[in-house]
Every structure is written in C-alpha cells, then in structure tokens.
Symmetry: C2
Subunit: 393 residues, 2 copies
C-alpha cells in the first residue's frame, strides 16, 4: 500500500499530531473535522459554501444513501461526488452504525446483518463484502470496514464476542478490497470501479468500555494492516471519562504513520482532548443538528439563540468570528428568524457552527506547529462553560 499519511509535527507535551492525508480528491490537513453529509448533502449547506468554509473532507452515510436514493441511482450518476457535486475528499462509513441505531429487526450472524430499513421497512442484508461493494459504488476516497457497534452499557462477554466479530469482518473487508482493487486497476481510469483501487480502507477498533478488549481489538485490527484506523463505539451514551479511556486504551497500539479517526464525536473541548490523545480525524452531527434547534457554538460554550435575552442584541453570534453569519447578521435578527421558524435562521447558525468546528481544527493545527497546543487546549477547555454537549443554556 502507498503511503497516504505524512506526519509533520508531534507535540512534546501531549500526543497531538499535525499531519496530511493525501486522497484521490485532495489533501486533508489533520487534525481535521469532517462535516456530515448524511443523505448526500451536509444539511442546509451547498458544496460551494463548504468550500468557502474550507471544509477539506466530508462524510457520506452509506446506510442512508443505500436506503434512499439507492445504489442504482448513485451508480447512474457516476458516484457520490458527481451526484452531489462535491469534488473534495469523501469518507463513507460502513453503514454499520446506522443499522444498529436506526434500522429495525436486526439479526446479526457471522455472515452479516439482516435488517429492515427505517424508511419503508424493506428488508436488506449487509455483509462485510456488500458494505464494501456499496462503498465502492458511492466512490468515496476513504471507506470504512463493517463493524458491530455495541450500545452502552454492554456486558463484557457480548463486547468481547462482538469485537472478535468486528475483526473477522474487518479481515473480509480488506480481502474484498485487495481482490477487487487489483481487478479495478485494469478498469477505466475515471470509473467508480477504478476508484476502488485508489481509495483507502480504514479498520475500526471496538471493545466497548473495557480496557483489555480495546487493547486486543486495536492489536488485532492493526495486525490486518489498514490505510488508517478508527476508534468506534465511542460517544454512544457513556460518560465522558469512559470515552477518553476507551481511546487511551487503544491508542498506544495504533501505528504512528497512519491516520487515526475518533468516530462520531464530540463537543469542541472533547475534540481538543481527543487531539491531545493522538486522534487526527473527527465527525459529529452536533454543529449541524444543534443549529437546527437554534443553538450556536462559540469558543466559550453554546448559546441558545431562542432565548429572549438576544432579542435586541446587535452583536454577532461571536465577536471577531470570520464566518458570513457573524460578518453580516446580528444575534437579534437570527433569534427572530429561529423564533419565526425561517430556514435562513438555521442556515446561518449551521454556517457559523461548521466554521466554528473547522476553525477550531485550524487553530489546533497552528498551535501544534508552534509547540503550544497543550497550553491552548487547557485554556480552551477551562474557558468553555457548557459541560453537557446537548445542554442548551
């Protein structure tokens, strides 16, 4: 496998890393935040706006796209990049997490997962190989191995069996990729099939909240030799300390020269804590989801813009913020829009929140380069007033 990830700086006071991940659609500076494009769009945002926000990679949800519009449609349009008109890097998840959190009547066997989708209840079956086929059809730059994501809390025995199943599935995904990647190299240069050969595959570490299982899972997954590694099964309802520990247990076993992706989290302080623990990539629904509820992220915590206190407030969501929402509109105006259920209100908060997350990563990169990341992290976390990520002040 070619070398996709280059580490340029490592922090002396923490495990923070500054790197670059090269994909077929461009380079990603890490630490990186990936806005989530669940159904073929980052909610309420155009690709042009994503470019203006300096988003370097977005995430596409395999399960959602498989259910609707369906693979035939995406294939017809030549893959997800063409379909949604986004020419930057895309990471596709395996669909596993959504099958376990959204779909109904799941039946898990060694072969794969049988489920009924949450839209029309149609039955479907996804195996590690099918998850790879679907992701190949989507044509993303980074695919994820199919895993089982167990809920919190989870019994030790089930977590142990499940992590082993995830390892067996991971191996099958890798085998599928090696087999089909070779075939694809002989295909047309720009076909989605050909893109399988150029794409990367990341393995996922599981093991719930058990240190030894996290360690075993990390070792087993790393032994298989993926292009990058993700920590899955975190941010599924466990206390924040458990989440940190799950990452700390697995991290020492991850190779330095591959990117590390902490899946599905978190708040701004959590991202900095994860960077300090050696994580490089993140995805999270919070900036877009909370925006739709009128909640804005700032460097000192969240603001619920529905609150009456903002009605006459002429200041922007955040002073000195360079996003379009802050340069052009007041809190009072945005509050009015949200109260009146105007789409422009959630558009503006979504822009601000994505800018806020992306800018935090940019800042983290600069601080790592300057050797001041750990001071920055401590000051940021200490100054951040909102503790509960879902708390609306």
């Amino acid at each position: 496998m070619q070398k996709n990830f280059v580490l340029s700086t490592t922090d002396r006071h923490s495990k923070a890393r500054r790197g670059q991940l090269t994909t077929a659609h461009g380079v990603i500076d890490t630490p990186a935040f990936m806005p989530i494009g669940t159904q073929g769009t980052v909610k309420a945002v155009t690709p042009r706006e994503l470019r203006e926000l300096d988003a370097q990679i977005i995430l596409g949800n395999t399960y959602h796209l498989f259910v609707r519009p369906g693979l035939d449609v995406i294939k017809h349009f030549g893959g997800l990049h063409n379909f949604m008109n986004w020419d930057g890097p895309i990471l596709t998840d395996s669909g596993g997490y959504q099958i376990f959190s959204l779909a109904k009547l799941r039946k898990i066997t060694d072969g794969g997962v049988e489920f009924q989708n949450h839209i029309d209840g149609a039955r479907a079956f996804i195996s590690p190989e099918i998850a790879m086929e679907i992701q190949a059809a989507l044509g993303g730059d980074i695919a994820m191995a199919l895993d089982e994501c167990v809920p919190y809390p989870c019994e030790y025995d089930y977590a142990a069996q499940s992590a082993e199943l995830t390892t067996r599935w991971a191996k099958r995904c890798l085998e599928w990729k090696r087999r089909n990647g070779e075939t694809a190299k002989r295909g047309l240069a720009d076909s989605p099939d050909r893109r399988i050969a150029d794409s990367m595959l990341f393995g996922i570490v599981q093991g719930a909240t058990f240190d030894d299982l996290r360690k075993q899972s990390a070792q087993a997954i790393v032994d298989l030799d993926f292009d990058g590694y993700a920590i899955g099964g975190v941010s599924v309802g466990e206390p924040e300390e458990e989440m940190m520990r799950a990452v700390e247990s697995a991290e020492p076993f991850l190779p330095r020269d591959k990117s590390r992706y902490a899946m599905g989290l978190g708040t701004p302080p959590q991202l900095l804590e994860m960077i300090a623990r050696g994580m490089d990539m993140f995805d999270c629904v919070l900036p877009t989801r909370l925006a739709r509820n009128g909640t804005a992220f700032t460097t000192t915590g969240t603001l619920n813009l529905k609150n009456a206190q903002f009605a006459l407030d002429k200041s922007p969501i955040e002073e000195n913020c360079a996003c379009d929402a802050c340069r052009e509109f007041s809190r009072g105006y945005i509050r009015h829009l949200i109260k009146a259920e105007e789409i422009l209100g959630l558009r503006l908060i979504t822009l601000h929140n994505l800018h806020s997350y992306l800018n935090l990563m940019k800042r983290a990169r600069t601080e790592i380069e300057s050797g001041t990341f750990d001071q920055f992290r401590k000051a940021f976390v200490a100054g951040y007033k909102t503790r509960d990520p879902m708390m609306v002040e």
Copy 2:
C-alpha cells in the same frame, strides 16, 4: 413631489412599458418582480443570494413584522434594511391584506380594523395612520396606503362601500405622510424618521370584479395624487378573466408617469399578460412557496420534481438556465433532496424559481426595448403548458 418614475419605452402593440423607478436605496428597472420577504427574509434565501439573482427590490410584510418580532425590535435595529442586512429597495405592504386573510375576529370601522393576530391571538388595532407609523418604523422605500381587500365573490353593495372606505383611508395615509414627512425633513439625515420624507407612498385601487367600481376607485385614488398606484383585490380566487378585467377597467385612469403595481400575482404567463395591460411591478409567493413543495418553474410550465420520472435525470431543472441550481445540480439529485426532505432541495428550487421570475422580467424589459414584446408574450403564453398556477404536474 419629486419625479421618481421615468418611462423610457412604451410598446406600440400593447400597453407594455419600460421604465425606471428611483428610490432612496437604488433604481428599479420595470417591469420588475419583487421577491417576498414576509418575516424579514425571503424564505430560505440570503441577501447575498438576492443580489446575485439581480433582485432589485424586495417586499416586506408589515402585518407579519408587526406581530413578530414587533416594532420595538425593528426600531431598535434602525429599520428593516439594517435588521435583515438588505441595502436595496424595500416595499412594505400596509398590512391590510394579511389582516383580512390571516388575522381573526376582525372588526372594521371607519376608524380602522381591530383584530387578533394569528400567532398568539393578541388584540391589535390598525388605522390608516397607524399603518403609516408602522411602515415608517420599518423604513422601507415604498409604503402602501391601508386598504380593505374584499374576498371573492363579493356583493356589489359591499364592494362599493368598501372601495369608498379604501379611498377615505388612502386620503388619511397621504395626509399622515405629508404631515410627518415635513417634520421628518428637519430630523437626522439617516434616521428612520427622516426616511419617511424620502420614501414613496402608493395608493391602492379596489372595486372587486365590478368594472364601474374599479373605474370609480381608480379615479378617486388618482385624484389624491400618490407616488404610484397599485391594483389590489386581484388574485384572491377569482377566475383569470375577471382578474384581467379588473386591471383593464382601472388602468386607463392611472397616470402614465407613475408606476403601476399589480398586487399578489401571478404565474409567469399572467405576469406577461399584466405587463401587456400596462402594469410595471409584481409580487408573488408562488416561486418561493411552490419551491418548498418541490415544484420548479420553467419557461414551458411547472415541473414537480418529486415525480419518479426525474430520479435518473441528469439534466438541470431547465436547459440553458444560468442559475446556480441549474449550473451545478441535476434534476435527479434535487429530486432525491426533496424526497429526503433535505433543506438544500428547497433552497435550490427556490433559487431557480426566483431566477426564473426575475429573468422573465429582464427578458420582458429587453423585448419592450426591442419593440418585440407582444410577439414574445404571445409565444411564451402559447408555449406554457401549465394552466392552473397551483397545478402540480
């Protein structure tokens, strides 16, 4: 009163007119379409997008803004332009139409209208003078006199009395403006109060579907000498021929050197028919409202993008359309977004529909200048396949 409207070309084969209306916030080329910014935003669109669409003027709804966020808020922000960050011309309606269509428990007397708003049921009273005060606080460039808009169908006697009431109210609005405009001229240069002096006031012709009442109303309103004239009480459910006749009955009594605004309509063919009957300005919710339902306007009719036939369609909403939605996205992708209830779907159709309406006006202006408007109108109307404006193919 200063001369705000300059007529540059009149069509030899119809009553179509090409003109320019100068306001405190810029020049409007007529015929002009005004996107509707009901609650301080054109639904789902930013001011920047409106500028990119070449929208030269937008409409603000006095009733909606009076109810929410309320006048104190708008005054605190220095008027509607500042509040919503739109520096182009704004026309505010009088609030009358919404009181008659949305509010509850209305009681109309010569003094004004008492009503309960549709949001929290709070009682309020609007007189012609109060309608002017509210519009002065909003600080738009063109204010409308308070009128009574009768429903369709309407008895002759009620329509006659109502048109006379509208005339008495129109006179009081004009008197209020003369009185307060003089005072305002001595005020601060950029205060909202001062803007009353710079703003225009349009009178509204009523008379329901009765030719003699339309004629009498037009004469009475024109005698009062407004900055421009509107035809109200049209597009309230009457057959299209009645709507055309209402305008034809009033138009000969409107002065050539003032702008004419046909309120609250209509489909693209109706706009061209209205231009051919001597109308200059239009506002209509159709392009934004139908967009939210997945319906796109084209030069040959509407498309319901929810339809399965578009699932694999790689073409844009409309071939050769210069809007961002058509330059960057396919019907198939937009259909997926609408089916998946993604906000980006209605954003893209809204952009296209507004572009479509604004571009039709641009085309009409060019055709009038070239002396070919009437041919253009006939060909466009003949080629337009959707007859019912609300019809979803």
